[in-house]
Amino acid sequence: MRLSAFDLACRRGGRDVFGGIGFAVAGGEGLMVAGPNGSGKSSLLRMVAGLLRIAAGRIALEGGDSELTVGEQAHYLGHQDALKASLSVGENLRFWSGFLGADSADIGGPLAAVGLDSLVDLPAAYLSAGQRRRLSIARLLAVKRPIWLLDEPTSALDTAAQEGLRDIMRVHLAGGGLILAATHGPIGLDGARELRLDRVPLPLKETAEQQ
């Protein structure tokens, strides 16, 4: 499996965010997308997930299911946790694993992996920010999808949970999955390559038009 992007450009609100971005990630590899605020890390992940229109360039997936879009084979872990406050921890996870097409209805294993198995009946309204994040991460384990698009996955997590997430990501990579993660700091994945968005010069529109 190989996910590649060629000459991607992003435009938001009439402003060019980035242009000329290309990358290739194979199964078992992780790619860290780094850059300052507003450099388009989240936008890049949303483009790959199919949640944002691609201004220019293209994204290709080899070795995936040709019937499905890239987004339908990917887990998107965004800034929002997609949890309903009035549903319990178990109901929230069971909904997403049912909706996203999990093979088994078992949610005990994924919840135990993120350390929430004792809170299964607690309404999500009472979870802390870090616990909400962990519940979102449990979704990645409950449903098997080869591509993980993680936007600041370690935000709100304590050191132990960050270490747990690192292990979860290592297992995913070892199983042939691929990870695209937007991050500020080092995420601690060995061998992960880095894509820096701030070093990419924006295409100079004026000079292009003058020529």
Partner: protein, 222 residues
């Protein structure tokens, strides 16, 4: 379809729990329909004549109440992003969300309508006809409302825009719903004529609503 069943169960659970919209709609319906006899006074003949219209108006406004949160809540907490990465077609997800909304807001109205009918001096035959028209007509209100709810999804206070968008489209449903209920009581038009048109409006909205709402959601998600 496992995924669609999951959406139906989740939306109905959220609607009946604390902060859900299911009870708000039926309470609003009861309050509006109860206030009318107090405002008009104890003129039984007048109440009987305008009773079906009052109940239909109250049902229309009540079904709008919870509608603006239908997609906006999913948009704000990021659920809509994940729904788009699901493998179920967005049109079907929207359809199922509409069905869940109708089951939790439309059906309680239909059950409450005969009780309110007593206060408006409706006899058994008129109440029966009214319940039948509401049963057939309220899904049309929900599915027309889906379009407005999807268009207003990114707006912080989309409720007013929703009403402005949806109410004109709901006028035919209102006309033929009230006409059918009245026809059963007073005539001279047979009940079947407006009732059949009402059925047609509902079936058309059942088809058009989900496609239009899904298209609107795809446009606005960016």
């Amino acid at each position: 379809m496992n995924a669609l069943g999951a959406v139906l169960v989740r939306d109905m659970r959220i609607a009946v729990r604390v902060g859900g919209g299911a009870l708000m709609g039926v309470l609003f319906f009861l309050v509006v329909a109860t206030l009318v006899p107090f405002a008009l006074g104890p003129d039984l003949a007048l109440l009987q004549r305008i009773g079906p219209a009052i109940l239909w108006l109250a049902a229309l406004l009540a079904s709008l109440l919870a509608l603006d949160r239908l997609f906006a809540a999913d948009h704000e907490d990021g659920s809509l992003d994940l729904i788009l990465t699901g493998r179920a077609p967005l049109e079907l997800v929207v359809l199922v969300k509409g069905i869940a909304h109708w089951l939790t807001t439309g059906v309680p109205l239909i059950i409450a309508a005969p009780l309110i009918g007593l206060m408006l001096n409706l006899d058994a035959q008129a109440a029966g006809a009214l319940v039948l028209t509401l049963l057939v007509g309220t899904p049309a209100l929900t599915f027309i409302g889906l379009i407005g709810a999807a268009l207003a999804v990114t707006l912080r206070r989309g409720g007013l825009l929703l009403a402005v968008l949806v109410l004109p489209l709901a006028v035919p449903v209102l006309i033929f719903g009230v006409a059918a209920a009245n026809a059963a009581v007073t005539g001279p038009v047979p009940f079947g004529t407006p009732f059949t048109i009402l059925c047609a409006l509902t079936l058309a909205s059942l088809v058009v609503g989900p496609f239009a709402a899904a298209a609107a959601l795809r446009q606005e998600i960016e």
